[in-house]
């Protein structure tokens, strides 16, 4: 069967060896080099096969890592089976896609062109979906998504608050194309940005356009991307490299995984444009090995791009060469730091180096090197396709464009959401995120992962952009948003993040290696009720020294969760120390379990389950816990059917 990628007739001469400069445009608007209505019609027919329409309905099933682990592949198989069985194969197509972003509700599927969203789909639901949707023309009401805010079922996915409030630029294709097919990407205007750059612009003009767009690095620090490219372009060297940082080690962050799994060609196209602008002919994607699906999709995408001549030598007959390779990292958080990442690609232990020299001067194998984050690269095709001005319409004055956030924690809609820079935390958490799970009260949001800080209730109206958040003691970071409710203990959370930073510290510099350990020990003592008044000062002073003297961003930012918690939740620390009380009832050493005699129905289940055997009572006397023998395992509270066991 002919595909969009096949030559329309003998007159087409495009191959990787004899490339045509108009190849990309030819596939969607062509043929360009000859005028033949038959060829044109054929191309339009093949395009139509890719894009959904009434004669070619498509079911986009999320098979990203999240939904795949909930059995999405079984759903794909069942759908195919059912569609064949019903004889619908000519009009309905099942497309396995990357992440829709709505992980909480996975597996999800979207039916186009009708925009129907079904959530929490199980293989058993498939027959009913096919019957109703494609035979009877109706909905399966029970699988529609019900908005927790309005309690109304969403008639289309675009109606669901989760999607309606988003602005999907980078995620535009994610969930709506088959990431294993380059033609799907091309059909949705893929590689047109590259074509524009190669055909119409000099490398310096490309850099100027990226500068004009205001794009800043999405890997954490928010460095202006165009400026960074210009440093590497100006660096002296016969060989230059570019790198895509796909290490993504923040606990709770998975936007880069989403992009690589769902739209790998966007990253490749971004890198191609960057390489052309910088003057590099070789690139590396450094991706953590824990992302096998991202690596697989990227491998397929690279191979396909090579096969059609979009990677390799003399790309689109422009004389520009670019070769792209993948390096799998072993999952050390510090390998996301760019100098450590470079060392790791070189086969050395991933440890940060002092700068200068900056990678732009001396990076991979001592050559000028430019590194950007996955999401940064994935933004680039849009800028070159639609122009900097259109890109810059989103965002704030100093933070342009959109940012993908990974919503996790105690929020209703965990998943990936892309919003314009400058949206408030409240809008993200309550509108898109659907508020707090189980109707609990919002307490804080940790933004920027272990390098970021926690922000309290009062800060919910803060605009999310690079500068505002940094000023507030947090950071955009990679974009992890961990939402915490009233049942979260802030001392415990600070201890958790510090434990992460400590065990991921590369060990090179003293303050980070030794300092984070001692900070953790102080926090640990406090959660155990062994904290002393003066510990808070020691902790704060140590945190400042670690921040001010550490070598790389890991150590410099590791104290942020502690410092922000001390700033906004100092009373909780004090309660642990002075009153030996954990206000959120989390720190087990500070908890007591007590049975409310009025609620106790004297069933004795708790006494039977207690591993310490410290609960006594009988059919007549309410059960009672011997506090001196209690090991605070919480079993009694879990088993009691009447809520009679109190945690205090």
């Amino acid at each position: 069967m002919k595909t969009l990628l096949d030559p329309c007739c003998d007159r087409c001469t495009h191959t990787p060896e004899t490339p045509c400069r108009d190849y990309v445009r030819c596939l969607t608007e062509g043929p360009i080099c000859h005028d033949d209505p038959a060829c044109k019609a054929e191309k339009q027919r093949l395009l139509k096969e890719i894009k959904p329409n009434e004669e070619n309905q498509q079911i986009f099933v999320c098979t990203g890592t999240g939904c795949a682990s909930c059995g999405a592949h079984n759903i794909v198989d069942s759908l195919n089976e059912e569609i064949n069985h019903q004889g619908l194969a000519n009009t309905v197509n099942v497309v396995p896609t990357g992440c829709h972003g709505f992980c909480e509700q996975g597996p999800t599927l979207i039916i186009e062109p009708r925009q129907i969203l079904y959530t929490l789909v199980k293989p058993d639901d498939v027959a009913e979906i096919v019957q109703k949707e494609f035979v009877e023309g109706e909905r399966v009401e029970r699988l529609l998504y019900v908005d927790p805010l309005t309690n109304q079922p969403a008639t289309t996915f675009a109606n669901a608050n989760f999607f309606a409030k988003q602005t999907r630029v980078v995620l535009n294709n994610c969930g709506f194309i088959n990431p294993e097919k380059i033609e799907d990407y091309i059909a949705r205007d893929g590689y047109k940005g590259l074509t524009n750059a190669l055909q119409k612009m000099t490398p310096v003009e490309v850099i100027d356009e990226v500068k004009k767009s205001g794009l800043r690095g999405r890997g954490g620090a928010g460095f202006p991307t165009g400026l960074k490219w210009s440093f590497c372009r100006q660096a002296i060297g016969d060989k230059k490299y570019i790198i895509c940082n796909a290490d993504e080690g923040d606990p709770g962050a998975f936007m880069d995984r989403g992009v690589l799994e769902g739209d790998p060609h966007a990253v490749i196209e971004g890198m191609l444009i960057g390489a052309y602008a910088i003057g590099a002919d070789e690139g590396y994607v450094y991706c953590r090995a824990e992302y096998p699906l991202a690596i697989k999709h990227l491998e397929i995408a690279i191979r396909q791009a090579e096969e059609v001549g979009l990677l390799g030598d003399n790309i689109l007959n422009s004389g520009f060469n670019f070769h792209l390779f993948i390096r799998a990292g072993a999952g050390a958080f510090v390998c996301g730091e760019e100098t450590a990442l470079i060392a790791s690609i070189e086969g050395k232990r991933g440890m940060p180096k002092v700068r200068p020299p900056f990678p732009a001067q001396s990076g991979l194998w001592g050559k000028p090197t430019n590194n950007n984050n996955v999401e940064t690269w994935a933004n680039v095709p849009h800028i070159l396709r639609n122009g900097a001005d259109r890109y810059a319409q989103f965002g704030t004055e100093k933070s342009k464009g959109t940012k993908i956030f990974a919503l996790t924690g105690k929020v209703n809609n965990t998943g990936l959401a892309e919003v314009p820079m400058g949206m408030t935390l409240r809008d993200i958490i309550f509108d898109i995120g659907g508020g707090i799970q189980n109707g609990k009260k919002f307490k804080a949001v940790q933004i920027g992962g272990p390098s970021g800080g926690c922000l309290p209730d009062e800060m919910l109206d803060l605009q999310v952009d690079y500068d505002t958040l940094t000023k507030a003691g947090a950071m955009v970071g990679s974009g992890g948003l961990v939402v915490m409710d009233e049942t979260t203990c802030m001392v415990d959370i600070a201890r958790f993040f510090l434990n992460f930073s400590q065990s991921e510290s590369c060990g090179k510099c003293t303050p980070c290696r030794e300092g984070t350990k001692r900070m953790w020990e102080i926090l640990d003592k406090i959660t155990k009720g062994e904290g002393r008044e003066e510990d808070l000062d020691t902790l704060e002073q140590l945190a400042r020294v670690v921040k001010e003297t550490s070598l790389c961003g890991l150590g410099q930012n590791a104290p942020n969760p502690v410092l922000s918690a001390l700033k906004y939740f100092r009373h909780e620390f004090e309660a642990h120390i002075r009153d030996k009380n954990c206000p959120a009832h989390v720190c087990s050493a500070l908890l007591t379990y007590r049975i409310d005699p009025d609620k106790c129905k004297k069933c004795g289940l708790c006494a039977k389950s207690c591993p310490a055997g410290c609960i006594t009572g009988d059919k007549k006397t309410p059960y009672e816990i011997d506090a001196t023998a209690c090991i605070k395992c919480g079993t009694c509270a879990k088993v009691c059917k009447f809520g009679a066991v109190l945690r205090e």
């Binding site: 050390a332 510090v334 232990r349 440890m351 002092v354 200068p356 400590q502 065990s503 991921e504 510290s505 590369c506 060990g507 090179k508 510099c509 003293t510 303050p511 290696r513 030794e514 300092g515 984070t516 350990k517 001692r518 020990e521 020691t538 002073q541 140590l542 020294v545 921040k547 001010e548 003297t549 550490s550 070598l551 410099q556």
Partner: protein
């Protein structure tokens, strides 16, 4: 040469362009504590002891890896800087065995020196400590990983001076360690026992095993000498206590070799006081070696060589010289062969 002017602690100093802030301070006798810096090694910037305040720079930049620039304003002794250094030292000492009384490094230990200056006790951050086994696997180097402050100097010395790359960091966070791959003992690694690592270690983590218990640094007289083992001409310090050589240490000023030495030069000097050592020539008489004077020995050699030449001709004699001799000595040897004995049969063990 281009010169730049900067201010350090209120003093205006002028240094060549390309100088680091640390070098600028040292050129002007402004003390800066360092633990990971060594002029012979690449700049690493890991211990963070050398931090200073520089106007317009965020945080506390390490002076050893910060280039001095025109008009820079540096402060090396503010309370912020001193407090940060004290904290860093407290952190190091909190994870360091305090058996200084019996430590071979006492008196020559950079950590102890700075701890004294900054009044550090190790009491502030009491908590978990490393408890790692000693590496006692070889006759030359004693490694106590519990004393290691992970300055990484040994790693760089092995790679940059000796070109062996035996050592590196392993593990992460508090468990980070420095040592041979897979944590093998030195004896099972690719180590050639040049001891470069020992020569740079600022603390008692790497010490010369044979010197343990033989003398304190302040009891030892350092006598600079040239190594007799080969013609390279390495210099080092004989460590002499009570007229006895107890070991060898690098002399950083050594013009040929700096701190580098090989296993023989650094660890082979115990032969000086070996009871088996020959101190006079021996001549075999009646099947037994008996002590002789140099004159006797020379006469005997000359006489025997003369006899061989007379009986079989000069080309029956061949002269083999040694790489352990200096160039001058080797030149004299070939003179002896060609001009005195009259043969071209002269060769040298390091000819190829």
């Amino acid at each position: 040469m281009e010169w730049i002017t900067l201010s350090i602690d209120g003093r205006t100093v002028t240094v060549p362009k390309g100088t680091t802030v640390l070098e600028a301070c040292r050129m002007n006798n402004i003390p800066i504590p360092t633990l990971c810096h060594d002029p012979e090694l690449s700049n690493y910037g890991s211990c963070r002891m050398c931090i200073v305040e520089i106007e317009g720079m965020r945080n506390l930049p390490p002076s050893c890896v910060t280039q001095a620039t025109q008009g820079m304003v540096v402060r090396t002794q503010t309370s912020k800087v001193r407090n940060a250094r004290t904290t860093i030292l407290e952190l190091l000492v909190a994870n360091h065995p305090l058996d200084c009384m019996t430590c071979q490094k006492m008196g020559d230990c950079a950590l102890a020196e700075y701890a004294y200056e900054y009044r550090v006790t190790g009491e502030v951050f009491k908590g978990q400590r490393r408890e790692l086994p000693l590496d006692d696997s070889n006759p030359f180097i004693l490694r106590d990983p519990n004393k290691c402050i992970l300055c990484g100097k040994c790693v760089r010395a092995c790679e940059e001076i000796q070109g062996r790359s035996v050592l590196d960091f392993s593990f992460r966070g508090f468990n980070a360690q420095v040592g041979p791959a897979f944590n093998l003992p030195y004896s099972e690694s690719e180590c050639v026992f040049c001891g470069s690592c020992v020569s740079v270690c600022p603390v008692g983590a790497l010490t010369e095993k044979k010197m343990v218990g033989q003398g304190r640094p302040w009891e030892v007289e350092k006598v600079q000498t040239t190594c007799p083992f080969c013609g390279t001409g390495c210099n080092f310090d004989l460590n002499v206590k009570d007229g006895k050589v107890i070991g060898v240490t690098s002399n950083p000023e050594a013009p040929v070799n700096g701190k580098a030495l090989c296993v023989k030069g650094r660890f082979g000097m115990d032969l000086i006081h070996n009871s088996e050592r020959l101190t006079t020539p021996l001549i075999k008489k009646d099947g037994e070696f008996v002590e002789a004077t140099w004159d006797e020995a020379m006469d005997l050699v000359a006489q025997k060589l003369g006899e061989v030449k007379q009986e079989h001709g000069a080309d029956a004699i061949a002269v083999l010289s040694s790489a352990r001799c200096t160039n001058e000595e080797n030149f004299l040897m070939q003179k002896l062969a060609r001009a005195v004995i009259g043969t071209n049969n002269i060769d040298h063990c390091a000819r190829t």
